[in-house]
Symmetry: C2
Subunit: 432 residues, 2 copies
Amino acid sequence: MRAWSTELREHAGRDVALAGWLHHWRRLGHIGFLILRDGRGLAQVVVEDPVLCARIDALQRESVLRVRGDVHLSAQAPGGVELRAPIIDVLVAPRETPPVDLSRPRLAATPALALDHAPVALRHPRQRAPFEIASASMAGFRAALRARGFVEIQTPKIVGTATESGASVFAVDYFGRPAYLAQSPQLYKQILVGVFERVFEVGPVFRAEPHDTPRHLNEYVSLDAEIGFIEDHTTVMAVLTEVLHGMVAAVAAEAPDAMARFGRRLPEVPVSIPVIHFTRALELVAADGAEDCSEALDLTPRHERRLGEWAQEVCGSDFLFITGFPMAKRPFYTHPDPERPAYSNSFDLLFRGTELVTGGQRLHLYDDYLSALDRRNLSPAPLAGYLEAFRHGMPPHGGFAIGLERWVAGLVGAGNLREVTLFPRDQQRVMP
Amino acid sequence: MRAWSTELREHAGRDVALAGWLHHWRRLGHIGFLILRDGRGLAQVVVEDPVLCARIDALQRESVLRVRGDVHLSAQAPGGVELRAPIIDVLVAPRETPPVDLSRPRLAATPALALDHAPVALRHPRQRAPFEIASASMAGFRAALRARGFVEIQTPKIVGTATESGASVFAVDYFGRPAYLAQSPQLYKQILVGVFERVFEVGPVFRAEPHDTPRHLNEYVSLDAEIGFIEDHTTVMAVLTEVLHGMVAAVAAEAPDAMARFGRRLPEVPVSIPVIHFTRALELVAADGAEDCSEALDLTPRHERRLGEWAQEVCGSDFLFITGFPMAKRPFYTHPDPERPAYSNSFDLLFRGTELVTGGQRLHLYDDYLSALDRRNLSPAPLAGYLEAFRHGMPPHGGFAIGLERWVAGLVGAGNLREVTLFPRDQQRVMP
């Protein structure tokens, strides 16, 4: 029976079989230290047999091995445990050294080189750690929502209309007729509030924007939820707060080793995340500089960083809700603030000074949709299916979308989303 | 505090608030019976107040209501419970009747009409039930794999090469350069075996095949898993069997009401699903007819139906593994059977006479990939990233892909995948 490297201590005093890759090999006189990497961690194997040492000398890094040996607790060993008196089977012997050195604490490669050789570079324990965190985060997201009666949906990514928002879309040749890649599941998740009331989806979204920044990619993973029978956007913010709680708890429980590689604390999600209105946010960012932003309709990345610092200093919070963004900059389905109709019942959630979530209350009355489209000079015809849901009774509803990669980047302190995306897609890169 | 229709019995004797849609309204002399539909089920509301009855007479179906009243157990009521002495708030009043009648036990609409009006037709309790089953199935799939140490991955859907298999791909205009929609996460999940050993993904796949059959769609949801350090394809089949167990258990636990609408029993997954070799499968299908299939390289849908009947009759099983498909008809990454190299270490799993899963052992040696590509006249260049993983040590591995819609169709007895797809995509349909 095979053991995982991370569970070796539990087998102390016994004979176990490990399997994995030759991560590192070092001779100290007559003794050799082999570091074996498996899907979860690293294990030290001590080799004293000179014949075996000579055999291992001849192996390439990343050789695939099965190693049987005795588990010994040892204060000097990394993790306090090691395998001794090993029997080693070479399952696969590569003939070349890897294109990047995987054995240092940090990958010694430029970001571009790491991406070019992602199939190998991702094997580095620190390179793969963000994806263990992503896996735990997705599980936490779903568990929190399922516990609250949400139904998981899978909506189409090939769509017939490109009119959800101003963002650019990728065109697909769909049997000779035009179609597009969905920018988000927004329209479908709203339709399905009419069916299930509470829905969520985890899936890819596609943005053809010619951005070339560390904070944007052309394909990313969106964690979407939508909820019916809300009071207003504050109901959505309360659900989102609970979901973030679940995500942090899942990372803490399932990916503590991965988090430890980045030396950053997990955020605490306050029971009540601080909230400020957009107009107040502008005052705060204006107060500390000469910039006049009294006419601003949106926040810049610099504003977001400043507000993140403010939340940290004044509220001791990694998170900050900004509500009431001007209607002029939000998509057509946004619900206005009934008291101040130039502002919206929408929100952004900043996490450590970066926009992580966008959400809010949506319009739910058919006539309001017709007016909203008319005001923006958008034709209702391509949205006929979507509008049909509203013609036949939709409750007050709202929802949110969390960018998975931005979440993980905030947790691990990555400055570029490419570090937390397995195979990123940008203008330069569509392979591997 | 709002209650769900399905939990009404638990509130007997109390005053509760429900919310939902006016599903049906019927007057019997001075009394009216309002059926309220919420995201989970139906509740009967008894109205005796003549003024309120007159108000409800004037409401359209699908009006969005909040209903407060007293919960009474009643032998005559559907489900044995009803709400009496209601106070009704109309949250949203639609002005038109729905395009399809939602109140009959079965939707009275042609399949095409139901699809054209999916945003409303999906509200019908029997139309939405397959998606409650799908939601539970996905949860069961993930839970089974996570319990076995699998990491969830999200791989790109926009890909630079179209060479995975002979199947047709959709082309995307990617900033002026050619790109394609991924036919499956196959190449990525294999690469990631080199990183995490065990991975899974739930996501959309895209096939540009001009099929127009009840068993094919151009976009569907694939439940993918891939496992390192296997013995051969039988290790994969054992994991798949456990995963199917988890999926059936999740449907039984979470979607019993949805299943009950179809009057079909849940399948039992045998601890050991019956297995026959491809050559034996051909003998079985040849035995009962004049058809000569001694030269056949694949199974037809008719063969699959016949083999499904055989598994039922002879083994009492809804499931049947067919192993050893001829190499000639399997993709280039397929591992041959070392004993009979014209046949492969691959399998299909039939569920009630339809192919539900394809899987098998993959090649893991770099040189074997070069030979396999060469034999098929495929160039290695577009696969450079994928092949790099094999140049640097990949363990014996394999995996499988379950078609989510086929699974649900088999559970509910749907003859057409369009009945179990929220917004199906075929040559005719890219909206809504």
